[in-house]
């Protein structure tokens, strides 16, 4: 009956009095400052992080480790990759070996190097895309929630309904054909289409926050919309947004992979995992005849999968932690 993970707010009210001995309080007169409420020891930011890490479940630690490694590879790709991203060697489809650890691709580019650069491009693009999606979708979602049921809310919500009613993959295809399939357009278009989902979530969670008295207090004070959005609401809807960020972030790779399947994707010779999976996916059907060849698409696919799982482990943990806090 003592699951430490399951602290809920109602018990915390009961826990208020820890760490104070009876004598402090016995029959003394009342003092406001002496009233007990502080249940948390004050710690520095670094201490908090360290304590957080120590208490993290193994899944979260695994996730954090993986993410750290990815970020490391992304940041230092040029130093870590044995060859250049677009460097072409004379060997098409070199087998796995010492010179080329995972062999080379059709053009004779080192697959390991492309995987490493892929971390930078894929993670970078996905991150930027998701950020934009969250800035747009989150901002508008909170705005709509503040304006709950007003004309702005209705306009935004209906627009989002319309966008969501259009099959997004096909719409992305149309838009990319319209504006040209370069990386910038890819990022913006996926971001906009993704922001519809963010909008919904941001609006839904903000609706719970806008009814809070402190938001009303800010309005009574005469605060501007932006201040309320940014200072009063945003910090309080971060946990669900961060969780969504994790998922959306991973879905961006998949969207890029699917678009690349349909013929529009990232500009060559930029290495990105989604396109790498696409280019080589056909090889898995030959697993019977050439196992290492069949493994080639597995590498970028596994890179995506591992990151997705890692990010979501961390997000789950973060959600868990923040739901344990009283807010």
């Amino acid at each position: 009956m003592s699951n430490k993970d399951d602290i809920n707010p109602s018990t915390e009210a009961e826990l208020v009095d820890q760490g104070f001995s009876k004598s402090d309080l016995a029959d003394q007169g009342y003092s406001a400052a002496g009233e007990v409420g502080l249940i948390k020891a004050r710690r520095t930011f670094r201490e908090n992080i360290w304590r957080g890490l120590k208490s993290a479940p193994p899944t979260a630690l695994f996730g954090l480790t993986i993410i750290t490694i990815y970020v490391f590879f992304a940041l230092f790709a040029p130093l870590l990759a044995p060859y250049g991203e677009a460097e072409i060697f004379d060997m098409s489809y070199a087998p796995w070996g010492e010179e080329f650890m995972f062999g080379t691709d059709q053009l004779g580019r080192d697959i390991l190097s492309r995987l490493i650069y892929g971390a930078r491009n894929t993670v970078g693009i996905a991150f930027v895309t998701t950020m934009i999606a969250f800035i747009i979708g989150g901002g508008l979602g909170i705005t709509a929630a503040i304006n709950n049921n007003g004309w702005l809310d209705n306009l935004l919500s209906r627009s989002v309904d319309v966008l969501m009613a259009i099959p997004s993959l096909i719409f992305a295809l149309i838009l990319l054909s319209m504006f040209g399939a370069n990386t910038l357009n890819l990022i913006i278009i996926i971001a906009i289409l993704d922001s519809t989902r963010v909008f919904r979530i941001a609006r839904a969670v903000s609706l719970n926050v806008v009814v809070m008295d402190y938001v009303e207090a800010a309005r009574l004070r005469g605060e501007k919309m932006f201040w309320i959005l940014y200072r009063e609401i945003l910090p309080n809807i971060m946990p669900p947004l961060v969780a969504e960020f994790g998922l959306r972030f991973c879905f961006v790779f998949l969207t890029i992979a699917a678009l690349s399947f349909l013929g529009v994707g990232i500009q060559p010779p930029t290495a990105d995992w989604g396109s790498m999976v696409r280019e080589t996916a056909g090889l898995i059907q030959f697993a019977e005849y050439d196992l290492t060849a069949a493994m080639t698409p597995m590498l970028p696919a596994a890179a995506i999968a591992l990151l997705t799982v890692a990010v979501n482990f961390v997000v789950d943990w973060f959600l868990h932690k923040s739901s344990g806090l009283k807010d």
């Binding site: 826990l15 208020v16 309080l25 409420g37 948390k40 809070m212 009574l220 200072r231």
Partner: protein, 547 residues
Amino acid sequence: MSTERSGQKGDLLLEMKDIVIDGYSDDRWHEIVKGVDVTLRRGEIMGLIGESGAGKSTLGLAAMGFARPGCRITSGSIMFDGIDLMKVSEAERRALRGSRIAYVAQSAAASFNPAHQLIEQTVESTVRRGIKPEAEARADARKLYRDLQLPNPDSIGDRYPHQVSGGQLQRVMTAMAMSPRPDLIIFDEPTTALDVTTQVEVLASMRRIVEHYNTAAIYITHDLAVVAQMADVIKVLRYGETIEDAETRKMLAQPEKAYTRSLWSVRSIEKPEEESEDIVLKVDHVDASYTGSAKVLDDVTIEVPRGHTVAIVGESGSGKSTTARAITGLLPPTKGQVLFNGKPLPPLLKERSIDQLQKIQMIYQMADTAMNPRQTVRDIIGRPLEFYLGLRGRERDQRLLELLEMIELDETFIDRLPAELSGGQKQRICIARALAASPELIICDEVTSALDQIVQKGILELLLRLQRELGLTYIFITHDIATVKAISDQIVVMLEGRVVEQGMKSEILSPPYPEYTKLLLSSVPEMNPDWLTGLLAERERESSSNP
């Protein structure tokens, strides 16, 4: 009916010895209940009283062999009718719950499953444990509804929780607890969330039915006056330890410990009233309604004299909070206007000037939701200083410290988050935030009702002092007559969106009363074990004489 029940005490039913319960927080276990003994006999009612954090709910739940998530019973023994709850399996404990030991929770609205009909929930455990077949259990439930004086007892069970009022729900929950005819019922603050007039009825029903079936009960509350009506014996808890154990009458007559005495000290403050003609705010024949629904304010006129306190009294739904919303501009009146210092205020919040906004500040009932949990005290109090007064940096911090001092807190609080404050401290920070704007008028919306008695007293004293020192004007919205007595100069009684009576405190609180005011005043529990019996008898008499 009689409260003389001491002679009926039967065999030993529950014996808890040296109970220690731990709670987990901030990465470690702390003791919440520190070795408490409880002894209860059949048919006996024990009152468990204390402030929040005293461990009374935790102890009450432990009587069922239950610990909430994040808590654990670490030592002690719990013997229930010869069964050692600490030793038997979870399945066996579960079998006792809802059949031999039942629980009535504080918030009936939250504790009923919104997805099921009331009667289904009433008979759920009775049927599950095979105590009665379903049809019989349902018939019995309807009988219990009738016993508990619920309206339409034959059909009310077919309704869903949200279709029934809070007071009725609380009675349905009592029926639910009673349905399996348990030996013991734990009442956990069952009337705290109710209006006073409703509370009286619920208390009466609960007492009647417990007596009728000779069920033992543990009644948990922070309100001594309430427990006095219910309990045979009273146990006072503080910080997980027993302060005092006594029979009810003895405890009321001669409390031994200072702490026990302080529990009803709040009722001792009383502000001498003053009259004044200098009107700072006038609500002038205001009507208001939410879009598309009926009027929630109907021709409300209230005058607020400068430097004084007007208390607006009424039950939930009477329109007292709506009046505040109309004053602040959150809900523009459909008719009438609000005059501030003789000049009409624009009805809409958006149209008011910063200066107008600054002069009227508001303090909320729930300090928890009134402060952004992600902001520190510095941000919370500092913002109005920046916003209205343009103070920055050192200047702002200087003023911040002054304000903290004013509310009797020190600089160590400046970087805390709301979650790191106690209830009273939170409310003080909210007061400081209002003060930071240097307002003329502060609207206090039930600011003390969520607080423990002692803390309430502190807050009320603070408000009185600030009024004296700064010449503030308060509009004090409350449903608690004791609070009204403590703080107000004038009283406005509201009912269904209308002002039914207003005047100086002494006028309102002395007879002759209009009917509603009388009901309101008479429903406030008194520190007298015979109060409820007497009140019921009197009401009985009146209703039979006025058919």
